[in-house]
Symmetry: C2
Subunit: 465 residues, 2 copies
């Protein structure tokens, strides 16, 4: 009896100390992030000295070189570039569009080519417009009413979704597949309402795909600002026979070589177990890619910097990966997973930040029940930092290809309300990232990585580390 009580007392003491050790380390991580972080300065350079970094561009190469240098300055155990062939799509001269109410009476509207689109003919494209709320309407409308016209996809994001990412998911098929689908009915081009919950004058680009459409049947696709979409829709209601004109000179070039940028701290006890933190280094060309995904890159680099600052040496190998080409190809993510597999590397954890540099709210996890329970048990440690969200769901596009039975995938979940105001548009710029919010995100990531490193993941087939 006395022995049992003694044992319990010792166990309690041990558990309390363990708890308090974790609390202390996490406090140290947040303190360092809010006073000594480099993330904001790194982002300033990426955004203001380099700018938009579309795959295959000079800026993308500059970003590769800059982040590699910065990782080297951190004194990591190893920093390297992983070659990957990426698509090269170039916007060309600024796009131009107008609504023609009648010959000579026009209203200019802001548009931008969707990433991957073909150009219009040199003189532009002018045609009547047929407005739809989605791809599924095309069949009912039929080829006779679509042929030769511009299909105008105008389904807005649903404002009642609390997560704006859900609203985005409910619309983005128009942008991604709208041209391929409309092309099947003989459309001459497509105009897509920007994926933006706000009414403003900025067109939002983003990737699109022609699927199996043969090259000669591909039709040009552009995004129109939300205000432009409202004007076009209203104008069509008054007169369905108005015409729309747009001109764009974008072009797809042959693939070019680029790189994933990788740095690592070798694990002190289980170097063979690899934890990845990452974001994507490429960005759309209209803004400077501060939120998408400069923020995720510098936060990921910051995780390693914070560990150095607080003197925490991970037991497992910690890698930061700046993936290339998330936006229009995911070549970097695929290449990283392919190399990892070919080398038989044992990845146990991967965390991506690719939802903006806003106040962190928590994480979503793509994992089994046992590991989800373990991360849930860490929630109280995050409470003092206003981190409440531990949910099942997606992680990040770039780390998705790593998916495996014994790998916990996670995504940082920042506040999403402002994200699509800036996403893929010319106002995704540095001044819209708040320094503290960015740093809190990095600290939140580092704290989760610290816990995963300390306690390991629960493995289904292999021995626990």
């Amino acid at each position: 009896m006395n022995k049992a009580i003694l044992f319990l007392a010792l166990l309690c003491t041990f558990l309390l100390q363990a708890q308090s050790e974790d609390e202390k380390q996490i406090r140290a991580i947040y303190d360092a992030a809010l006073t000594e972080a480099k993330a904001y300065d790194w982002l300033n350079h990426l955004s203001n000295q380099i700018g938009g970094r579309l795959s295959g561009s000079v800026q993308a190469q500059q970003a590769v070189e800059y982040t590699k240098e910065q990782l080297e300055d951190l004194g990591l155990d190893r920093v390297w570039l992983q070659p990957v062939m990426v698509p090269k799509w170039v916007r060309g001269t600024p796009e131009f569009a107008y609504i023609e109410n009648k010959p000579g009476v026009t209203n200019n509207v802001p548009i931008c080519a969707l990433g991957g689109s073909v150009a219009t003919p040199d003189g532009g494209l002018k045609a009547e417009v047929i407005e739809v709320q989605g791809i599924e309407e095309l069949e009912a409308i039929g080829r006779d009413s679509i042929e030769g016209k511009i299909v105008f996809y105008n389904r807005p994001m649903d404002p009642t979704k609390i997560s704006t990412f859900s609203a985005y998911s409910g619309c983005v098929d128009q942008r991604y597949s709208g041209a391929a689908e409309a092309g099947k009915y003989g459309a001459a081009g497509v105009i897509v309402r920007s994926m933006n919950l706000r009414l403003d004058d900025l067109p939002h680009t983003g990737s699109m795909s022609y699927g199996e459409t043969p090259v000669e049947k591909r039709i040009p696709a552009a995004a129109i600002s939300t205000n432009g979409a409202e004007l076009l829709s209203t104008t069509l209601k008054l007169n369905p026979n108005i015409k729309f004109y747009f001109k764009q000179s974008c072009k797809q070039y042959p693939d070019v070589e680029s790189y994933n940028v990788i740095g690592e701290i070798r694990g002190s006890e289980h170097p063979e177990e690899i934890m990845v933190v990452g974001g994507h280094l490429d960005s759309w060309d209209l803004g400077d890619g501060s939120h998408d995904d400069g923020a995720g890159c510098v936060q990921s680099m910051e995780v390693l910097h914070l560990f150095k600052k607080i003197g925490y040496k991970p037991k497992r190998t910690l890698r930061v990966v700046m993936f290339m080409n998330e936006e229009n190809g995911l070549r970097g993510g695929n290449k990283y997973a392919q190399v990892a597999k070919s080398k038989n590397e044992q990845h146990v954890f991967a965390l991506e930040s690719d939802a903006g540099g806003f106040t962190p709210r928590g994480f979503s996890f793509d994992t089994d029940e046992a590991n989800f329970e373990q991360v849930q048990s860490w929630k109280p440690l995050f409470e003092p930092y206003m981190i409440h969200l531990f949910v099942k769901g997606g992680s990040g596009a770039d780390i998705g290809p790593l998916k495996d039975e014994d790998l916990v995938l996670a995504g940082l979940r920042p506040d999403s309300q402002r994200y699509f105001d800036h996403h893929h548009a010319e106002n995704d710029t540095f001044e819209h990232v708040n320094k503290r919010e960015l740093e809190l995100g990095a600290a939140t990531m580092a704290s989760l990585v610290y816990l995963v490193d300390k306690y390991g993941i629960i493995k289904s087939k292999k021995v626990k580390g």
Copy 2:
């Protein structure tokens, strides 16, 4: 046994239905807020058509008239103005300041008079500077080293506090009492580092008090931008004998009459029980007062609008109160409580929004354990809306004077990271308020009011309603 099971089954059915009714109503509130709210348009008018609304100003009067009209348009049961005498302090011509490295070699720095300060002499004030980290240093430094000098309070907000309001609380004594305290040691004036976590060029004003200092002994007080404070501090380290010059022409006028703006929906079952939602209508003069506290006013008005929109008739009387003079006197809050007491009104609940129009995170409550437990039991209803924070703490300055045993006080707690970037400065403007974030705040308030109305509060002495 069978009867017991039947009873349990019925109880479960009842509880599930009750839950599902609440879920339905709260969903309806959020849907209406995100699609039909007026808050953003109201704020646009307050901010862009009226602007900064310091007590006693023409703009404050315009805000009284505008919000009264808008409440009347909502078709409430009663809308009225409650007269209250308020202080009238006027900034005068723009302030001017420089650091004089040596005669003829100067650096201009951005300052603004603190609210309530006296003017400098007409020609300005020039003196040597003594930098301190807080009021408590004055005694050790002593009169000999302070007399005739400008005391420069330079203790920054603590960046490691997760809630920026905690960081603010840790500094604001310098602004509020710095002049009164330095005056006791013969200081000629005081310069206070702006209450801002960011390094920038904007001075942040705010209220200060001379306490018991006789009129003839009052010394002028101004805030300096954080960059200005850094420059001044660095300059002093290089040469402690540099001088600082500043000039301001602010003035306190006799009190003038103003108003609290009040509207109410009369309760259908317990009209004698009053629930208040509110914010303060006055704001500082440098910006347009969008976050502080235009947002809180329009969110409070929105609560009543949302109830109308979803067709919910409160059982208890619901009042919106736009308090006058929170910023430099709290006269409106005091007057409202005084009138309520003199009329023996039975206030059961008061909720203030005065922490910015950012993404809502939850509430803090000033109440007893029984009621705190009740509101905690509602947490699951708020989970789908990413509202996690239900803590004990302060509520709001304006509703504080109502404090009573049988009254639950609450404050909306939005994300605080960006708040002090804008607080009391010229960049507290409309474009920094996000429409969705504002609307989510209003919906969150309305949902809590709905639950309080439906379930009542737990009373310590009176019969439960």
